[in-house]
Symmetry: C2
Subunit: 194 residues, 2 copies
DNA sequence: CCGATTGTTGGATGGTGTCCAAGAACTATC
DNA sequence: GATAGTTCTTGGACACCATCCAACAATCGG
């Protein structure tokens, strides 16, 4: 990448190193039983340093996905008042495009072994809320009425997150993530149980 | 209620007393700035006692609603394999029926003043996940296919939570909570932006 | 009065996340 | 090569949350 020499003390670690150490420990001992000190010990740095790389323990799992969400929501906001259905769906897609196996995928796949199911439920909820409310805001500003905008946001956010979950559970191989997403989108168009 | 004398030391406090003290402080100082010790001091009991009544600080806000959700989800599970749309909606209704102003409603209404918006987002997400996954499970066992069941669960969970939010924000008076819910349900039936 | 029961309390413990000051390792400039 | 500026690491202190537990207090029924 950039081997350009920069001023200042060189980093003693990296997000990758720390994330790797963390994931190993999560698998070995479980998420709750792994303290931040455990992680930094294995990575060979001090506890303080952990917070130079991640803002919290759960951030190890989510930072990658969160960055994608941030980018996508900026693109979504740029659609402005003349957003339509297809445009919104296109704006959402980069959240999943080229998603490589990462700590989050690992956690989703090994939730039981890591004892991280509750944690994932809680934190997925937070992302759901963030994505849903951004979509709702866009829809609203494009003329959709309040309640429907909210429901639409929830449905689309669910499509994103549940396709990610299903993909991660099923081995995270293939190009099937986007396929999964497409299927989810399709099933929004005709919900059962009228 | 029951003035029946029971064995053992009488309680020195109550959920209501503690919740009241907590809500006052949340409004005065904000949620984050209010520690559990602050709450118990005002209520006149020790810090330890707090956990005899609530399992965490946020439980003060949610325990009432959570109890309703618990009850409703049990009823939902009882529907079994021959659940249909209307039956599910009826099972959900008790979550909102006769909902009186409580700490959660107060927090939703005064989120900004309490500085509790992030907290609410996160915790609402958890409830959303719980409700949605229960509905999805019921739908699945009634023959709805996986992806649609998940989306349906998300949409209905959103209907419950967003009607609660809107109702709380708008003064929490009237009988309009259930009306709000009915409107949300109606708008699920024809989402915009095909 | 006695035991059983139910609650309260303080203290200890271990974890999280924040803050900060001291210092280490590097670059660039004179 | 000294010096200054920059970037990062580190340890310590802190406030808080949540759990556990043993000691103790207040009530009941017999």
């Amino acid at each position: 990448m950039d081997t350009v020499p920069r001023a200042g003390r060189p980093r003693a670690s990296s997000r990758e190193t720390l994330a790797e150490a963390a994931c190993e420990l999560f698998l070995e001992q479980g998420y709750d039983a792994t303290s931040i000190v455990d992680i930094t010990r294995r990575a060979g740095v001090s506890r303080s340093s952990f917070f130079n790389y991640f803002s919290s323990k759960s951030d190890v799992l989510w930072s990658n996905f969160d960055a994608r969400v941030d980018a996508a929501l900026i693109a979504l906001a740029r659609l402005g008042t003349d957003a339509d259905g297809p445009a919104v769906q296109q704006a959402l897609r980069p959240m999943l495009q080229g998603f490589a196996p990462d700590p989050l995928a690992l956690a989703l796949r090994n939730a039981a072994a890591m004892g991280v199911e509750g944690e994932l439920l809680r934190d997925t909820g937070l992302r759901h809320a963030r994505i849903a409310s951004a979509i709702a805001a866009t829809a609203r500003s494009a003329g959709v009425d309040e309640v429907r905008a909210v429901i639409l946001g929830a449905a689309l956010a669910t499509a994103v997150l549940s396709s990610l979950r299903v993909w991660a559970e099923h081995g995270a191989g293939q190009a099937s993530l986007e396929t999964q997403f497409d299927e989810a989108l399709r099933s929004i168009h005709d919900l059962p149980w009228g």
